[in-house]
Amino acid sequence: MEKADQKWVEETLASLHNIPKAVAPDDLFEKIESKIDACKVRKLSSMQALGWAVAALLFLGLNFSVFYQSLTHLEDIARSNSQSAPAFISDFEIYD
């Protein structure tokens, strides 16, 4: 390598110690703030969606529970009716 080339390499390497510093663009903080606000809106709308989902689940759950209760209640009535039926018959046996 020639002397001049070597000099260029050494000088370039030495410039490592005084690399000029860049300054962030003026409007960068505004952009950051607007991104944060956009994130908040997204978070809020996803919270709303979650709220609706929870409400729908509760509604369906309640409906199912009412339906299930009414079914079991009907079964109980039928069972008690079927249990009381022989009693009626046995009552008639008195007259035999």
């Binding site: 260029w8 490592l16 110690h17 903080f29």
Partner: protein, 188 residues
């Protein structure tokens, strides 16, 4: 109150969603974060995007700051990780940085232009970009962002000795890359 404690207090306020404190944090660290990103990515638009990403993360995840390190160290780590992610994404999108460097070599046609400060800086940053990951991080934090060795060691989670060794090897490799750069230019 020393600057480190001050940043700790500011971050506590940011954790509560204080926008004024967030602006103060940006004033203290914004340029530094931008310079690290610029050193890594060597593209002002990408550096700006990464700086935005870093500060949005700081605001959203301020409550995750454990206090094991200084606030600045925590912020620099977020920045370095964001830069590395960006480089990975870029690698998937376009050609590796080495090819970018080769392109830049061909653009240095005028020997007198090489002597200019701006061109020299460009050559140096391109050479830094070709270093191994850890050497590049140590060089960028130490020389582009002028951080003390102790802080670089803390950010990289290495010993002071390891950082000094990385810097030594990094400089030696930079010299080799610059020599190669100069030889390529001579051939042309």
């Amino acid at each position: 109150m020393n600057p480190l404690d001050q940043l700790g207090e500011i971050l506590k306020r940011v954790q509560k969603g204080d926008r004024e404190a967030f602006a103060q944090l940006y004033t203290s660290l914004g340029d530094r974060v931008y310079n690290i990103a610029l050193g890594y990515l060597q593209n002002p638009i990408e550096a700006e995007e990464v700086t935005q990403e870093v500060f949005v993360k700081i605001f959203r995840f301020a409550h995750n700051f454990s206090g094991d390190s200084s606030v600045a160290t925590w912020v620099y780590r977020i920045c370095i990780n964001a830069c590395k992610d960006n480089i990975e994404k870029r690698k998937r999108r376009i050609q590796p940085s080495r090819e970018v460097f080769e392109d830049e070599i061909t653009s240095f046609d005028d020997p007198s232009a090489l002597m200019e400060k701006k061109e020299r800086k460009q050559a140096l940053l391109s050479a830094i970009n070709l270093l191994a990951d850890k050497q590049r991080t140590a060089i960028i934090l130490s020389f582009v962002d002028d951080l003390p060795r102790k802080e670089v060691a803390e950010i990289m989670e290495f010993s002071l000795k390891a950082v000094e060794s990385l810097l030594q090897r990094g400089k030696a490799n930079l010299r080799k890359i610059l020599q190669k750069f100069e030889a390529t230019r001579r051939k042309k």
